[in-house]
């Protein structure tokens, strides 16, 4: 997998580059933008809208509820304390503890799920330029050695991930993309060494 990153001084030139890359035959899924602020989806690139991490939130919520119930009711059941005429398990407090732990797990699950889905933390060094933090925009094109198409999301339309430049070799694709980006006004190209 080779990633090529072009650094653009402004939004317009970056948009131009994306447009040309797409026109050249690179698939939308191969192109992504690196920005220090968030742009509306589709302003530069389109990305698959579905994400799965919220299922993890739900799962954690349920696990948390189970844990909370076990904590409040389970321990009371296993280690009973005689409390006069009151029931061994206190119903209402069990509800409260169950709720709080469910929420705790859900919150933690959300963060964990988010990072998992983002693929962060990234252990591999990937092309990046600090100028992005200063408002420059990076357009990155991912090219797979051997020229096969990038892996698409399940929801992608048939053929959407297979660009016209697919017939070219990886190296050729890379130089083509760099050329397009330079033309569009890239300040510089940060390329990743082929792994």
């Amino acid at each position: 997998m080779i990633e090529t990153l072009g650094i653009f001084p402004d939004f317009e030139s970056a948009g131009r580059a994306v447009e040309r890359l797409v026109r050249e035959g690179f698939a939308e899924a191969q192109i992504t933008s690196l920005t220090s602020v968030s742009y509306p989806d589709g302003a530069l690139v389109k990305t698959g809208r579905r994400s799965w991490f919220r299922w993890l939130t739900l799962g954690c919520f349920i696990a948390g509820a189970a844990a909370g119930f076990a904590l409040a009711a389970g321990t009371a059941w296993l280690y009973p304390v005689q409390t006069g005429e009151k029931p061994i398990i206190a119903y209402y407090p069990t509800g409260i503890v169950t709720y709080e732990l469910a929420m705790l797990f859900a919150l933690a699950g959300t963060i964990v799920g988010m990072f998992l889905e983002m693929g962060l933390p990234a252990w591999r060094k990937r092309p990046y330029d600090p100028a992005i933090a200063e408002g420059c925009i990076g357009i990155s094109v991912t090219i797979h050695p051997g020229g096969e198409a990038v892996v698409c999301g399940r929801e992608a339309e048939t053929g959407a991930c297979v660009g016209g430049v697919v017939s070219l070799s990886a190296g050729e694709q890379k130089s083509r993309a760099e050329e397009i980006m330079r033309e569009a006004g890239a300040l510089r190209i940060v390329a990743e060494e082929p792994s």
């Binding site: 009973p80 304390v81 005689q82 409390t83 006069g84 005429e85 009151k86 061994i88």
Partner: protein, 237 residues
């Protein structure tokens, strides 16, 4: 989990018509239970350690004034407000209907003290000392409470325990009058009567059926095990 049951439900009757307010019960309690000696400063700060106090109320104005006495000790409520608020089960309810306090468990949140409507729980704000040789008096049956824990009347649980062991050794139940807390034992006017409310023939159970009976702050629904008998009259004949 099976609920434990018990043939006992300890309770007390305080006959306000008999009570003269003399204070014998207060000293008896203090002597029996290793209750700390509190100096003037300590009491001025509202940190008296007495487990049992006699409240004195003035009613009316001179010359038609009356003083009313009300001995107040832990009411050993069936639905004790102090119990559910304790996060560590230091305040708990035993099957005999006693509201127990386990000093070892207590961490000193003082939540029970706030939630006790009768304000009978006392907290060891001070680290109490008994100057030698006063410490010789300390009863070996009862813990000397360290600072930072809550304590209160136990109905002299050490005496109850002893009586129950004696009785079970003889294969019987504790007889009526066999065990009394120190306060009831010493009360000159016999205003305090202790016994098993679960036994309908016990003296307390009979007294509790008196029409003069009432319980303190009954509207709170705490169901105390201490019953009071109203003073009979105290007005002109």
């Amino acid at each position: 989990m099976e609920k434990q049951t018990s043939p006992y439900r300890w309770g007390m009757v305080v006959d306000l018509d008999r009570c003269t307010g003399c204070g014998a019960c207060v000293v008896a309690c203090q002597a029996e239970n290793n209750v700390a000696i509190c100096g003037k400063k300590e009491i001025a700060e509202g940190r008296n350690m007495h487990w049992l106090r006699i409240e004195r109320f003035w009613v009316g104005e001179y010359p038609n004034v009356r003083a009313r006495f009300l001995p107040v000790l832990c009411q050993h409520c069936r639905d004790a407000p102090c119990e559910p608020v304790c996060p560590v089960y230091a305040s708990y309810h035993n099957p005999d209907g006693l509201n127990g306090q386990v000093y070892n468990r207590c961490v000193g949140t003082r939540y029970c003290g706030n939630n006790c409507p009768y304000a009978v729980r006392v907290f060891n704000f001070y680290s109490h000392q008994w100057p030698k040789p006063l410490d010789n008096q300390l009863s070996p049956d009862i813990t000397v409470r360290p600072r930072g824990v809550m304590e209160k009347c136990t109905f002299c649980v050490q005496r109850i325990r002893r009586a129950k062991e004696d009785a079970s050794g003889e294969g019987r139940l504790v007889r009526d009058g066999e065990v009394q807390p120190a306060c009831a034992q010493t009360c000159p006017a016999e205003a305090l009567v202790f016994g098993n409310l679960a036994d309908p023939r016990s003296r307390v159970a009979r007294l509790v059926r008196s029409p003069r009976r009432f319980r303190l702050l009954e509207h709170l629904g705490t169901h105390p095990s201490v019953y009071y008998l109203k003073g009979g009259g105290r007005e002109h004949v």
